[in-house]
C-alpha cells in the first residue's frame, strides 16, 4: 500500500503511524507528485495531529531526540525520495533504538545522515550568505536555497536583529518569514514578537534607497580591497560560495566580480 500525504510534517508522521497500526507501507509519497501504478494500491492519508504527536513522542523516547531532529531536516530537504528514506530509517530505529545511529554505513542510515548534513550545511551557510537591505521601513533579505531552510534560520536572526523589523524571502518557494520587532518602554522589553511564515511572491529586488546605495557601495569596495591580488584563487572561492548562491549576493553583482 502506498500512502499519500499532504506534504506537511504531521502528515508524514501520520503515515508512519498507519504503517505500524494499519497496513505496512510500500512507500510514502506526496499526493501532488504521485504517479499511480498498476501494481500497488494507494490510499490518501488524512493528517491527524494527535496520531502525529504520538509518533513524534515515540521517536523521541524510543530512538532519540537527535533522530527526531534528523528526520525533520530530511523532511525539509529537497530530495524526491525523502519520505521513504525517513520510513526506512525509522523502521530500523524502532528496532535498534538509539544504536541505529551508530551504523553510519548502513544503507538505511547513511542517506539520512547525508541529507541531514546537507541541510545543516546549507542552514549554516545562509546564516552568513544572506544579505539584508534597508528599505527605510524594514530590512529585506532574499535567498533561493536548495532546501527549505527558512524556518531553521529564523530564530538566529530573531535573536540577532531583535530590535529591527525584517523579512526573509525564499524566492524559490515563494515564502517569507516576517519579524515585527519588539516593543520597548523605558528600555524594558514589553513584548517579544515571534516571527511567522507566510506566502510571499512580491519582489523587492529593484527598490534601493539612496542611503542604502551608499552602504552597498562601501561593502562592494571593502570586498574588493580585502582580497590579496597575488593570492588570487577563484577556484577556492567558488568552493565556498557556489555560483548558485551568487545571484542574491551584493558583492557579486555588476562590476564587482573578482578582481577589478
Amino acid at each position: 500500500m502506498d500512502y499519500l500525504y499532504d506534504g506537511s510534517f504531521d502528515g508524514l508522521l501520520t503515515c508512519i503511524y498507519h504503517h505500524y497500526y494499519q497496513e505496512p507501507a510500500s512507500g510514502i509519497f506526496q499526493l501532488e507528485y504521485y504517479q499511480p501504478t498498476l501494481m500497488v494500491s494507494s490510499s490518501v492519508v488524512l493528517t491527524d495531529p494527535d496520531l502525529a504527536n504520538r509518533v513524534y513522542q515515540a521517536i523521541e523516547q524510543k530512538i532519540s531526540a537527535d533522530a527526531l531532529a534528523r528526520i525533520y531536516h530530511v523532511y525539509l530537504s529537497s530530495s524526491s525520495d525523502k519520505e521513504n528514506l525517513v520510513l526506512n530509517y525509522l523502521r530500523l530505529g524502532f528496532k535498534m533504538g538509539s544504536k541505529a545511529d551508530l551504523c553510519h554505513s548502513h544503507p538505511d542510515v547513511y542517506p539520512v545522515h547525508k541529507l541531514d548534513r546537507q541541510v545543516t550545511l546549507e542552514t549554516h551557510r545562509l546564516l552568513g550568505l544572506l544579505r539584508f537591505k534597508d528599505t527605510g521601513k524594514f530590512l529585506y533579505g532574499v535567498m533561493s536555497p536548495d532546501h527549505h531552510i527558512l524556518t531553521l534560520i529564523a530564530d538566529h536572526f530573531a535573536d540577532r536583529l531583535a530590535g529591527e523589523r525584517w523579512i526573509i524571502h525564499d524566492q524559490k518557494r515563494r515564502l517569507a518569514i516576517i519579524y515585527d520587532g519588539q516593543e520597548r518602554n523605558n528600555d524594558k522589553l514589553l513584548i517579544q514578537h515571534k516571527w511567522y511564515m507566510t506566502d510571499f511572491s512580491y519582489s523587492m529586488d529593484d527598490y534601493t534607497t539612496r542611503e542604502e546605495h551608499h552602504w552597498q557601495q562601501l561593502w562592494q569596495l571593502y570586498f574588493q580591497q580585502i582580497s590579496i591580488e597575488s593570492r588570487y584563487n577563484p577556484r577556492l572561492q567558488s568552493h565556498f560560495v557556489p555560483y548558485r548562491y551568487r545571484r542574491h549576493l551584493l558583492e557579486f553583482k555588476g562590476a564587482s566580480w573578482g578582481h577589478s
Binding site: G128, R131, Y222, Q225, I226, S227, R231
Partner: protein, 408 residues
C-alpha cells in the same frame, strides 16, 4: 576625506592580517543588536578564497614603526588615513545589521605611541559596546608595549585579542622589525593568559564576574620573509600553544610589498604551498595529538611540498602500520592518513555494533585513496600495492604535468 577613500586605504592596509575567525563565544542578544555563536560564521569569501567574517580594518595606517616587511612602515610612501571612533562604529553597525559581517576585527598602526593607539582603540570599543549596545564579535589587536591597564580594559569589552609575534625567533625579528621584541610580546601574552585564567576561576565562584577575552587569544607568523626553517616555526608554534594557551597560530605567506636588503626580492611569489603544509601541521598539533618533534626532526627540517605532513610521517614510520581498523584505538586511527577526527569517531562508534570492512570506508568519510595502504580490515589488506613505503610514495606523488622527452 570622505568615507569611501578612508575605507579604501584602511581596508587595503589591513588585508595582510590573516585571522578572521569569529568562533569560541556564544552570547545571546541581551537587548541590543547582535549575538555570537561558538562555531563562528563566515559571511563572504573574497577573490583570493579567504573568508570574510569580521570587518577587518585599521583605525589608522599612520605608523611610527619601521618594520621592513610591512606596507604601513613609516618610510613607505603611501596615502595615510584614519577613522574617528564614531565613524568606525557607525560603519560596523551598518554593515552588521545588513548581515555583511559577523563583527569587527580592529587593528591599528602605532600612531604616535602604543598607549595613544590603544586608548583610541578603547574608545571605539566603549562606543560600540556601551552606546550602540553592540553584542556581535569583536577581535582586537594588542598594540605591543601598551600600558597593561589599557589592555585589561580592552579585554573586558572584546571577544578575542591577538598579539602578532610575526617571526619565530628573536633574531629574525630584530632583522625585520627592529622596534619590536619577542620578550615584550610574550609579556603581553602572559598577561592575557593570566587574566583569562583569573576571570575563569572567579566566574566559577561568582556568576556575575564579567568575562575577559572569552574567545581566547591568537597570533600570527609570517612565513618566508626570513630564513627560519619549518622546524623552527613549528617548535615556536607548539611552545605558544603550551605556554600561553593560544586558540590559534596563523601563518601568512609573505607577500613582498617593500624593497629591502633583508627581505626576499619584490618579484618573489608568496610561498602558498609551504603555508598550506604548515597549516596541515598545525592541525596535526591541535587535533591529531602530534608533537612538533614527530612531524619534523633535524634531518628533515622542512616540510615536503609534494606530500602532506601526516602521510610523510606515516611513510617514515612503516613499523607502525598497517593497523587493523576494527581494533586500533582512537589515537591510533588518527595517525592513519585519510582518517580524521570525524571519521575516526564514526569508526569507533560503528565498531560497537558491527565490524567494518573496506567497502564501508567511503560512507564513513575515510579517504580510501590514502588510507588503503595503511590499514587492514578484518585482517585483509585492501591496498592495490604491496605494503612498501617507497612504492606507496611513488603512487602518492602528484603526477607531473611536464615530462622530459627523450631525444632518441
Amino acid at each position: 576625506m570622505d568615507i569611501l577613500t578612508q575605507l579604501d586605504i584602511l581596508a587595503g592596509a589591513a588585508k595582510y592580517d590573516v585571522s578572521c575567525s569569529s568562533s569560541g563565544v556564544t552570547r545571546k542578544n541581551q537587548g541590543g543588536t547582535g549575538n555570537t555563536r561558538s562555531f563562528g560564521i563566515c559571511h563572504a569569501w573574497s577573490a583570493d578564497g579567504r573568508c570574510i567574517s569580521l570587518l577587518k580594518i585599521l583605525l589608522s595606517n599612520d605608523c611610527v614603526y619601521d618594520c621592513r616587511y610591512c606596507v604601513n612602515r613609516r618610510s613607505s610612501d603611501i596615502p595615510r588615513a584614519s577613522f574617528s571612533p564614531r565613524e568606525l562604529a557607525d560603519l560596523t553597525m551598518q554593515f552588521y545589521r545588513r548581515n555583511y559581517i559577523e563583527g569587527l576585527f580592529l587593528s591599528a598602526a602605532v600612531e604616535k605611541s602604543p598607549d595613544y593607539t590603544m586608548e583610541k582603540i578603547l574608545r571605539v570599543l566603549t562606543l560600540l559596546r556601551e552606546e550602540y549596545e553592540f553584542q556581535g564579535y569583536i577581535h582586537v589587536k594588542v598594540i605591543p608595549g601598551a600600558e597593561p591597564s589599557l589592555i585589561n580594559r580592552a579585554g573586558l569589552l572584546c571577544d578575542r585579542m591577538s598579539v602578532n609575534v610575526e617571526q619565530p625567533t628573536e633574531n629574525s625579528l630584530r632583522l625585520l622589525a627592529p622596534q619590536k621584541s619577542l620578550p615584550t610580546m610574550y609579556a603581553s601574552m602572559q598577561q592575557l593568559k593570566d587574566k583569562i585564567q583569573e576571570h575563569k576561576v572567579d566566574h566559577r565562584r561568582f556568576r556575575h564576574t564579567p568575562r575577559f577575552v572569552p574567545g581566547g587569544q591568537s597570533t600570527q607568523m609570517i612565513v618566508g620573509a626570513s630564513q627560519d626553517s619549518d622546524l623552527t616555526i613549528l617548535h615556536t608554534t607548539q611552545a605558544l600553544y603550551q605556554n600561553f594557551g593560544l586558540k590559534r597560530v596563523y601563518f601568512s605567506a609573505y607577500v613582498p610589498v617593500n624593497q629591502d636588503s633583508n627581505l626576499p626580492a619584490l618579484t618573489t611569489v608568496p610561498p602558498l604551498l609551504r603555508e598550506h603544509r604548515l597549516y596541515q601541521s598545525d592541525w596535526l598539533l591541535r587535533h591529531y595529538h602530534f608533537k612538533a618533534e614527530e612531524i619534523l626532526d633535524a634531518d628533515h627540517a622542512n616540510l615536503e611540498t609534494e606530500i602532506d605532513p601526516k602521510t610523510a610521517w606515516a611513510l617514515r614510520h612503516p613499523e607502525f602500520f598497517p593497523l587493523e581498523i576494527n581494533r586500533a584505538s582512537y589515537e591510533e586511527l588518527l595517525r592513519i592518513p585519510g582518517i580524521g577526527p570525524k571519521s575516526a569517531w564514526r569508526i569507533t562508534s560503528q565498531r560497537r555494533v558491527a565490524a567494518i570492512s573496506a567497502d564501508h570506508f567511503k560512507k564513513l568519510g575515510v579517504v580510501f585513496k590514502r588510507a588503503q595502504y595503511f590499514v587492514t580490515c578484518k585482517g585483509i589488506y585492501p591496498g592495490n600495492k604491496p605494503y612498501d613505503p617507497a612504492a606507496i610514495r611513488r603512487v602518492m606523488l602528484p603526477e607531473s604535468p611536464f615530462k622530459q622527452m627523450t631525444l632518441f
